[in-house]
């Protein structure tokens, strides 16, 4: 039910982002979704890739600081108000969204949104109980 996301620490100097994508490219790793959080001093690059283990290895080899984070992928009706329906339910259970971003591929007719919650298990249960489809990581990596 959970998705493993890779987070990478990036200093705010030129070329770091390009370097990361080069390394992954050379290792034959495909990026499925990404989000870049930035401050004036540094950035955190969040990736969903097809080969997580290898991605971690090749990035660490090149001296990057990498960590794994559990996120949740949810199918969202691809129409106005679709996202609101989900956020409304989460709000009512006081579940906090730390961040979110969209997935590249669609799942049938639906969009897919990646969420990071403060209470992952509670969030998954709430979403499932309310009829939302939570996608499994394995499905996502090779979608």
């Amino acid at each position: 039910m959970k998705v493993e996301q890779i987070s990478i620490f990036i200093e705010n100097k030129s070329g770091r982002l390009a370097e990361i994508t080069r390394i992954l490219g050379e290792a034959g790793i495909n990026i499925r979704a990404l989000s870049l959080a930035d401050t004036s001093d540094f950035g955190i690059l969040r990736l969903i890739v097809n080969d997580r283990e290898n991605a971690k290895i090749v990035l660490k080899e090149k001296g990057f600081t990498v960590s794994k984070t559990e996120v949740v992928a949810v199918e969202v009706p691809d129409k106005p108000g679709g996202l609101y329906q989900i956020l409304r339910i989460l709000d009512s259970e006081a579940i906090n969204v730390e961040y979110m971003y969209a997935f590249v591929e669609r799942c049938g007719e639906n969009a897919v949104i990646i969420f990071r919650f403060d209470e992952t298990d509670k969030a998954i249960k709430t979403l499932v109980d309310n009829g939302f489809n939570v996608l499994d990581g394995e499905r996502l990596y090779s979608m």
Binding site: Q5, S7, F9, I10, E11, R16, A37, T39, D41, F42, I44, R46, G63, F64, T65, V66, S67, T69, E98, Y99, R116
Partner: protein, 433 residues
């Protein structure tokens, strides 16, 4: 013009005789009252009676800052706490400060020496002194303050900070003398410019700057921008505070150290050997009138040279050259003494931080800046921006709370800070003084 003509122009033979007499009193005082000195003198095989000429001074053991730290807080005091009327402190090599205590007589002497220093710089009792040295445990503010009052001048106890307000007061109150760190004076000059205030229209005629090293080039810049005569002052809390030595207006060529209260020596910092006058080396000072915490041959770690040539001002006390650096790794940032090891212990105290840090000191718009770079390894890394930001803020807050300096913490990628075989290079000082 002198504050105390008799003592400031005392002929050398009389001055040296006085020094010897006071040295012997001091030795007796520390031998009797301070276990540390009794032990040190016994180990060196010297009793107070064995010192009968100033040449015997070199036989006495040195006192190191480490020993002051080891005696924290009052271990080196030579007077009972009842007689101590003031306590000051300054940076120690780690978290704990070095503590000094003053008896009433010590405070009076300090005020007198500071008054002498004011007069040597061209200040007189009719002056209005704008004192922007920090008031508090730091000796700068109160040292200048008491000296100003002793002289009879009107002192405005501004302390540091609130620069716009300081400029307004300087203008409205008609300050005629400025006392602060040299870099702060330039910062004030910029602030005044922004307010549209011209220093040529202010009443300042002299500034007495110290607490950090500054060059002749900086002096010219200050004199031009602030339209005053810029004088160098030297002091350190272990010895007394500001007023240990002062440049005279007449010569502006070396700082007279008040030899009726302090005996200076220059030594080779590696070997400890005495160096002849004119040679650059580490300044060692012996206090000969202090009662609270007298110090024998204190290693200041400041690099300078001594000049015994007669000065045009008529003062017979020797001059030390402008400070040209330290023989240890101490930094002076906005007038505050900082040891890299202090920052290290603060950083290490924050959970998860590895010992790979780098301090970058710079001067931007006349104010010293400190950037503390810390590597983000897996242990430290968090997926959430707010956690990393909290880490930066925690570093900045700890350093501010413990050392009183504002720094910028910067998180960098692992292995970007240079490793080294021997002693790691922890500090990059980009300031050109």
């Amino acid at each position: 013009m002198y504050y105390n003509e008799e003592f400031e122009t005392l002929p050398r033979p009389a001055l040296e005789a006085l020094q010897l007499k006071r040295l012997k009193n001091t030795l007796l005082r520390v031998y009797t009252n301070v276990p540390f000195y009794r032990g040190a003198l016994n180990r060196a095989g010297i009793t107070p009676n064995a010192v009968n000429s100033l040449d015997d001074l070199r036989k006495l053991p040195f006192t190191f800052k480490q020993e002051m730290r080891d005696s924290y807080p009052y271990g080196l005091f030579a007077a009972p706490m009842d007689d101590i009327v003031r306590i000051h402190a300054s940076s120690g090599t780690t978290g704990k400060p070095t503590v000094v205590g003053y008896t009433r007589k010590d405070i009076d002497i300090w005020a007198e020496l500071m008054a002498r220093s004011f007069v040597a710089a061209g200040v007189h009792k009719g002056d209005i002194i704008h004192n922007a040295y920090g008031y508090g445990l730091f000796t700068g503010g109160l040292g200048a303050h008491y000296g100003a009052e002793k002289l009879g001048a009107s002192v405005i106890p501004m302390s540091g900070g609130n620069t716009k307000r300081q400029i307004m007061i300087m203008k409205d109150f008609g300050s005629t003398v400025l006392t602060c760190t040299p870099s702060y004076s330039l910062f004030m000059a910029e602030a005044a410019k922004e307010e549209g205030i011209d220093f040529k229209k202010l009443s300042l005629h002299v500034g007495i700057f110290g607490a950090e090293p500054w060059s002749e080039t900086m002096r010219s810049e200050i004199e031009t921008k602030l339209n005053l005569c810029a004088i160098d002052i030297y002091g350190l809390s272990e010895i007394m505070g500001p007023g240990v030595a002062i440049e005279c207006r007449e010569a502006k060529n070396g700082l007279h150290i008040w030899e009726d209260h302090f005996i200076p020596e220059i030594i080779d910092p590696e070997s400890g050997e005495l160096l002849p006058s004119g040679d650059k080396g580490e300044l060692v000072i012996t206090t000969i009138t202090k009662e609270g915490i007298p110090l024998i041959r204190y290693r200041t770690r400041d690099i300078t040279s001594i000049n015994y040539e007669p000065c045009v001002c008529g003062r017979t006390h020797a001059r030390i050259a402008r400070m040209s650096g330290r023989s240890d790794d101490m930094l002076i940032i906005r007038g505050v003494n900082v040891f890299p090891s202090q920052i290290e212990s603060i950083i290490m105290g924050i959970e998860g931080v590895e010992p790979h840090y780098l301090l970058i000191v710079d001067r931007k718009e006349n104010l010293d800046t400190l950037e503390v770079q810390v590597e983000v390894d897996e242990k430290l890394f968090s997926d959430e921006v707010k956690h990393l930001q909290r880490l930066s803020q925690a570093i900045e807050k700890e350093i501010k709370d413990t050392l009183g300096i504002t720094c910028k913490a910067r998180l960098v990628e692992p292995k970007t800070i240079q490793r080294s075989e021997g002693k790691a290079k922890r500090v990059i000082d980009n300031r050109k003084l």
